[in-house]
Amino acid sequence: MRQETIDEAVTVRADFQGGVVTPVAFRLRGREQRITRVNARWVDRVPRHPHWYFSVTVDTGDVYQLQLQAGDMVWWLDTVALEG
């Protein structure tokens, strides 16, 4: 299992229903990655504005880490975990 840093701002389609944010899909290098499962969520409240993190599995089976920064509401794609 190895992790690669991506660290790119990405466009994310997300569901905010019921006040709960759930990413549904994101676009990486022109290709839409459909999220099949949100594995974990956590929040970092040490920064001035909270950062929400999501570990998600996409339809290809890869596991990505997404981040939503509450200050500017920008989504970042932090990392991808690859098998092997």
């Binding site: 299992m1 594995n39 974990a40 504005h49």
Partner: protein, 500 residues
Amino acid sequence: MDGSGERAGHGDPVRRNFEDGVVSDADVAGMLGPVGATRLEDVRAGGATPPPAAPDNAATSTDGGRARPGCKAERAARPEACSSHVEDRAAPDNAADGPRSAAVLHVDIDAFFAAIEQQRDPRLQGKPVIVGAGVIASCSYEARRFGLRAGMALSEAKRLCPHAIVIDGHAQVYRCFAETIFDRCRAIAPAVETYLDEAYCDLTGTERLHGDLLDAARRLKRDIRDLTGLTVTCGLGPNRMIAKLAGKTVKPDGLARVTAGEADAFVRDRPVEQIAGIGHAHARTLRSMNVRTAGELRALSAEALVRLFGAPGRLLYERCRGRDTAVVHEREIPVTVSRETSFHRDTADRAEIEGMLEYLAGRACRTVRELGVSPRTIAVRLRYADGEWIERARSLAQPSHTDPVVLALALELFAALFTRRVALHGVGLVLSNFVATTAEQGALFDEREAGRRAALYRAFDGVRESFGHGVLVSGRALRLKGRLEQDEHGFVLRTPSLTK
């Protein structure tokens, strides 16, 4: 996560300030929502109905004295009991009748780091997972079946379990999860004392609010699982020690209660290593005297224990009888701050060891400056390649949080300690006995110099805050460059603690 040294020195005051109120706790919890992949299964503790039993009517000891809630050695020695069930030997407390007894809930996050990694990546579930660099900081229960435990060298771990998956770890992620859990604890308890992966909740006097405290603990477990997907083991007892010991009997994901009336009998058969305050060294001494359980320890008088272990001997006299008067308190300041590492290769090279000590002193001093405290006592700990270890502490004339002052004493201690002709496996530095920092106090005519020095280190801290600790490396520590791996935090330490 058990048996780890991540709490070594209890150095991570996990409490933090809520910042700007942009989002409330409830909002944050709400936005996070339940973990998507986590089904709302009953926690294993959830379904059990407490059987009736004797009322909780025994009084706790009134002896004074505080103790560290569990030293590193004690944690390292913590055995893994993998049974999982609800132990409830008492009927619900009746707060309205009789004297009110203390109630402490100990919450321990199961296989903390590894459990989070397994949750972040479902491909890891069911597999032996190790978190750590150089040594194991945490490992999954699947890995523990192969004999792996926190603090073990990764080389040894890979030998025992070649197919284990090793992950460097993500301290920031773990801190976030811990905070979420501790926030839930604070919602039910007026006082919560937190460590890296465990918390003591003082539930004394909350029976009218919560009803049966075992139910409150059950609800807490369920909330934590819903919110984070993690399981915790809870122990409920009349004092901190009993609460923690009770939890140990039902790990992982268990819930147990021991009442004050049962404490004496409950503690009697516990191994002495499980008693708070008995680490490896004390346990070895006791084993050499054929004392293996708390019950056997009771044969020794308080005077004998004081002669053996010094002042803490009196506390041990009480604790082996199930009595512990240490109170739960919210800590702003840790008891100790320590930084330690194993060398990549055992070494007797004084230049390398002194360089590492300088680097560790820099890291530790920066932490205490951030906390706004100054240590009065400095300890150096050496671990030899043959497994022997030695530690010595000495106090400064004046508490100080500046690197050169701490380092000078650390080097003195090192020179006095490093006398065997055996290579060192690891070295550590422990700062303790903190006082709040006012101004750095120098000699009468040195105050300007002391002020300049303090300003210099504030500037260093600012630079390191922005660009990482490793961007400034001083003096002897420069010798480590090229010998050790570096990341954005500086040299990569081989320590069970990812936060150091």
